[in-house]
């Protein structure tokens, strides 16, 4: 909110510090000053009044009081108006509040035989420097009081308010009727509903309460008699009304933050003082609807508690001085505690902790010295989930992957393009790009590929390859239940089709990853249609596997369908995987036992076999392992080829078989014997032919 330096200065006889210096003081003790700007002969401070201080500090007077407390300067008081001067009475006034909860207090003050004219220069300057358009002396002074005291006030042309059947000028505060309309001072017509509060006379609405005045009761050049409204409306009602009408005004902002009902007295006195000085008029009668004064809390605060919270010993005299300066009344005082009544314009002081805050900030937070807490020394528990994720990330980094962070959202277009289902929808997305929560990570990873494929030429060392992964939450609906699950997903993209199947490369990486997080013996099997989150259309089923550990599906690995890549505009091939972190975590073995290093040298034999294309390697491995059980250390598929040398529709697979007996040295004769048995076993299948 904007404040005028000159206006703030007007509250003090002494000179205030330079604007920059003042801003610093306010910053360290009250509020942040967001900007400081020279304007004509004045400086404008944009002060970020904290929301809990709006009731007393959305006003120059409020800020001046803060300054007075911080700098220990004496603030000028406003003049008091003597009550007996208020004798004129042309009309009988009446206030009716239909729904009590809408309005705590409503004070109408009349002025008669008013001369509406242009405002004096100083007044016009005060307003325009803060961005308000001067209109006439009456309207300008009501605005002036709002900016100075913080209480919005509104002037009606009293003659245009209808008389009720008792010949009274009656002001009614009520809920608007459904579809009731009102033409306001901004020349716009607003359509209201029963959640919005209006001010009406006995015939029609004359203002939207706390938000905007009606046009036909507005102050004009020939207005003679006026009624100024000082009211205290329900903040929630004003806030909702203002949101509904999409109409924020200087008044509505103040009302929605709550105001003290005591503020009205101050505002009225000030307005009368100013009218007396600057408007030709007679001060008239007033009417005050104020069924119940707001109670002022009594707060007991122990000196010891101030020390306990702030961690610094402040002298009692200093504490009392600060509190007095802030306007607290000390009702009772003892060696150990104070019983206090906060100033009635402040609505933010209700509990002891509020008092501690006041003392701390006025005394100076910078004076509080660092002190390490005295606590039991305990070792913090490690967060196993986080540790697990850290390990996965580190491993993939070592495998030349880049970690990415994508938005948790996908767009309306994504949904349509990939016919995604069971999405969780955002009610108020700021744009259609953020309409749904991501149901998988792969979709955004593919976008990353699309964005990055163009820049691959920057990095010849990437060898036309992109490797990325992400760990993050994905979201979906299961029936009516909303689910949120941490997932791991990654992919390898190659720009051209030159390289062999990257499926096998990524499979190798995944197997090592599993090993690294102590998950053993993954089984790759053809996928079945259900039970995968990323839609089936994403995958090229011919080159996709589900990965099982102990018969539990834990991941999917496969090539992304070329049609999907086409939709993304990706030129190349992508193999991706995804897995649910919690599933990996439950399968990860906590304890690992070391296996002794073999004492004897291994014996290596190669085996090449010609098989029909389409034969699964796992079937061959099973035979080898079965026959060679006990003396086979490892089998490694090292070459696959088809073409000229091999018959049509056949391919040749070559394996290294590493023989080893952990307990004794192996004799070559035994290895030869077993190796031959393996060959025999394989050739039992008439389609298999071992090359010799």
């Amino acid at each position: 909110m904007k404040f005028s330096y000159n206006w703030l200065q007007s509250f003090f006889n002494q000179r205030l510090p330079q604007p920059g210096e003042l801003a610093k003081k306010l910053m360290m003790h009250s509020f942040e000053v967001e900007s400081l700007e020279r304007k004509d002969k004045d400086f404008i401070l944009d002060i970020k009044v904290l929301p809990n201080r709006a009731p007393d500090c959305f006003s120059h007077y409020g800020i001046a009081k803060e300054i007075s407390t911080i700098l220990d300067l004496k603030i000028k008081n406003f003049a008091k108006i003597k009550q007996k001067q208020l004798l004129n009475k042309k009309y009988n006034l009446k206030i009716t509040v239909k729904q009590k909860e809408n309005c705590k207090r409503y004070l109408g003050q009349s002025f008669y035989n008013v001369k509406v004219e242009e405002s004096p220069k100083w007044l016009k300057e005060r307003l325009s420097v803060l961005g308000l358009q001067p209109i006439n002396n009456v309207v300008d002074l009501t605005n002036y009081v709002m900016l100075e005291i913080g209480q919005p006030c509104h002037a009606f042309d009293l003659d245009k308010i209808s008389l009720n059947n008792k010949n009274e000028k009656e002001i009614i505060v009520r809920n608007a009727k459904e579809n009731e309309k009102i033409l306001c001072l901004d020349n716009k017509e607003y359509q209201l509903n029963k959640d919005i509060v209006v001010i009406s006379d006995s015939k029609r609405a004359i203002a939207i309460a706390g938000i905007k005045g009606g046009l036909d009761t507005g102050i004009e050049k020939n207005t003679k008699n006026i009624l100024v409204e000082f009211a205290n409306f329900d903040p929630v009602k004003i806030r909702k009304g203002s949101q509904k009408l999409k109409l924020k005004t200087d008044a509505s902002i103040r009302f929605e933050h709550s105001l003290s009902s005591y503020l009205i007295d101050l505002a009225r006195e000030r307005l009368m003082e100013l009218f007396k000085k600057y408007v030709k008029c007679e001060i008239g009668n007033y009417i005050d609807y104020y069924p119940q004064k707001d109670p002022i809390p009594k707060i007991k605060i122990e000196f010891d508690y101030i020390y306990k919270l702030l961690g610094i010993e402040i002298k009692r005299d200093t504490i009392i001085k600060i509190l007095k300066k802030l306007g607290f009344s000390i009702i009772q005082q003892s060696q150990d505690f104070l019983l206090l009544e906060p100033p009635n314009l402040r609505l933010d002081l209700n509990i002891k902790e509020d008092i501690v805050e006041e003392i701390g900030r006025i005394y100076g937070l910078e004076k509080i010295e660092e002190k390490f807490p005295i606590v039991c020394l305990t070792k913090p528990k490690e967060n196993e989930d986080f540790k697990f994720i850290r390990k996965i990330k580190q491993f993939l980094k070592e495998q030349k992957f880049f970690e990415v962070y994508n938005y948790s959202f996908i767009s309306e277009e994504d949904k349509k393009l990939f016919s995604l289902k069971n999405l969780i929808e955002v009610r108020n997305p700021p744009s259609i790009s953020f309409k749904y929560l991501r149901p998988n990570l792969i979709l955004n990873l593919l976008k990353n590929v699309k964005d990055n494929q163009k820049i691959l030429e920057f990095f010849p060392d990437f060898e036309n390859e992109i490797r990325i992964f992400e760990i993050g939450n994905i979201f979906f609906k299961k029936g009516k239940i909303l689910k949120e699950e941490a997932f791991l997903s990654g992919l390898i993209f190659i720009k051209n089709n030159l390289k062999n199947e990257i499926f096998y490369e990524l499979k190798g990486i995944l197997n090592s990853l599993f090993n690294n997080i102590f998950i053993f013996n993954p089984v790759y099997s053809d996928i079945n249609i259900k039970e995968i989150l990323t839609p089936l259309e994403f995958w090229n089923i011919q080159k996709t596997a589900k990965i099982l550990i102990k018969n539990k599906e834990i991941a999917i690995l496969g090539e992304i369908h070329p049609l999907i890549l086409q939709k993304f505009g990706i030129e190349g091939r992508v193999v991706a995987f995804e897995s649910q972190i919690s599933k990996l975590r439950t399968l990860s073995q906590e304890e690992l036992e070391y296996e002794p290093i073999p004492n004897y040298p291994p014996i290596l034999r190669d085996l090449s076999i010609v098989v029909p294309i389409g034969t699964k390697v796992v079937d061959i491995l099973n035979i080898i392992e079965r026959v060679g059980k006990g003396i086979i250390f490892d089998i490694d598929l090292f070459d696959i080829f088809s073409g000229e040398i091999v018959a049509k529709n056949k391919e040749s697979l070559s394996f290294h078989i590493i023989y080893l007996d952990k307990n004794k040295p192996l004799k070559p004769e035994i290895v030869d014997k077993v190796h031959n048995e393996i060959i025999e076993a394989l050739e039992k299948n008439p389609n298999f032919k071992v090359r010799k």
């Binding site: 919270l309 807490p373 030349k400 744009s431």
Partner: protein
């Protein structure tokens, strides 16, 4: 043959050695089974008894001397050979023929890791909470009432389902943590948060916060200052200027803002904090008469941006490899 003559002859030959082949030749001539020295030994038997022993020693001496000199010569030749080949094999050290590709972690992961390590060393445990939150945990339990302007501090993304939202801060985890753990505790909560926001260089629809909470019998503002300053000095540098000024959050009382000043720079706001509001303790079913503590929250992107002088928050989510490669 005269021993002395032989010795002279050998010395002459050794001087002429140039190659390893020459060495082999000499070895064959003198030291082999049929070599000249072997021959001498055979002749000892023919000598008179009284000089046999002496001669034997002399021959042995000559043999050892020869072996040693040959060995020296051999080393000399080998060294010359290595030196020669090294001279020929000089490389151009300014060349880079094969760049080694490496992987990269996201800068936010890297910085978060540092932050967690610092707080870990100060005894804080890591906790986490859900990104989809209820209105209760995100707002009500933190004393941020419905239809109150204080809520405007958190522009919220709501889900279609009534009462559910994407958490606007990590503070709801304070409540969840306090409900499930018994004080005293020190905990740190990193996580993704969401705001209804048009994205620009300093605003993102999602970003990350790190929430801290310490609750014990006696935990004061002075304690908070010590811990948070220790953190900032460790994360930035030990001379960093730090200031604390008043602020307002509905769930802390008193509340502060922490600013830092980087070398000769402007003051930058980096953290909101305060002492846990007694009502928040009540909402988490703890008795505020028994406990007090502090809570703080800071933006991971902001800290990282300050550290690396990154001017646009959107870079973190652009996933441009040219950006990620730098960390």
């Amino acid at each position: 043959m005269n021993l002395n003559d032989l010795e002279k002859e050998i010395e002459e030959k050794i001087k002429q050695i140039n190659t390893l082949d020459d060495i082999e030749k000499i070895k064959r001539e003198y030291l082999s089974q049929n070599g000249k020295i072997r021959e001498l030994f055979k002749e000892i038997a023919k000598l008179p008894l009284e000089i046999r022993k002496e001669t034997g020693i002399k021959i042995n001496f000559l043999k050892e001397k020869l072996e040693k000199e040959i060995e020296n010569k051999k080393t000399e030749i080998e060294n010359q050979k290595i030196e020669k080949s090294l001279r020929e094999e000089k490389i151009d050290i300014t060349r880079l023929i094969k760049k080694q590709r490496v992987g990269h972690l996201h800068p936010l992961t890297i910085e978060l890791e540092k932050i967690i390590n610092i707080f870990n060393s100060l005894g804080f445990e890591l906790a986490q909470g859900p990104e989809i939150e209820t209105e209760w945990y995100n707002f009500d339990a933190l004393c941020i009432p419905k239809n109150h302007p204080a809520r405007d501090m958190w522009d919220t993304l709501w889900l279609k389902e009534e009462g559910l939202l994407l958490r606007t801060h990590t503070s709801p985890v304070q409540i969840r943590y306090m409900e499930n753990n018994n004080p005293p505790f020190k905990t740190i909560v990193p996580g993704r948060v969401f705001r209804y926001e048009a994205t620009d260089a300093s605003h993102e629809i999602n970003f990350h916060q790190i929430e801290g909470l310490m609750v014990d019998k006696l935990v004061s503002v002075a304690n908070f200052k010590a811990i948070i300053n220790a953190f900032l000095r460790s994360f930035f540098d030990k001379d960093i200027e730090i200031r604390m000024r008043p602020s307002y959050f509905p769930f802390t009382e008193p509340s502060f803002e922490i600013d830092i000043k980087r070398k000769k720079g402007k003051w930058l706001e980096i953290m909101g904090a305060g002492l846990v509001h007694p009502q928040v303790f009540k909402n988490a079913k703890l008795n505020p008469k028994d406990w007090q503590g502090f809570a703080f929250g800071m933006g991971l992107e902001r800290l990282t941006m300050i550290k690396y002088n990154i001017k646009d928050i959107r870079l973190f989510y652009s996933n441009d490899l040219r950006f990620l490669k730098q960390f």
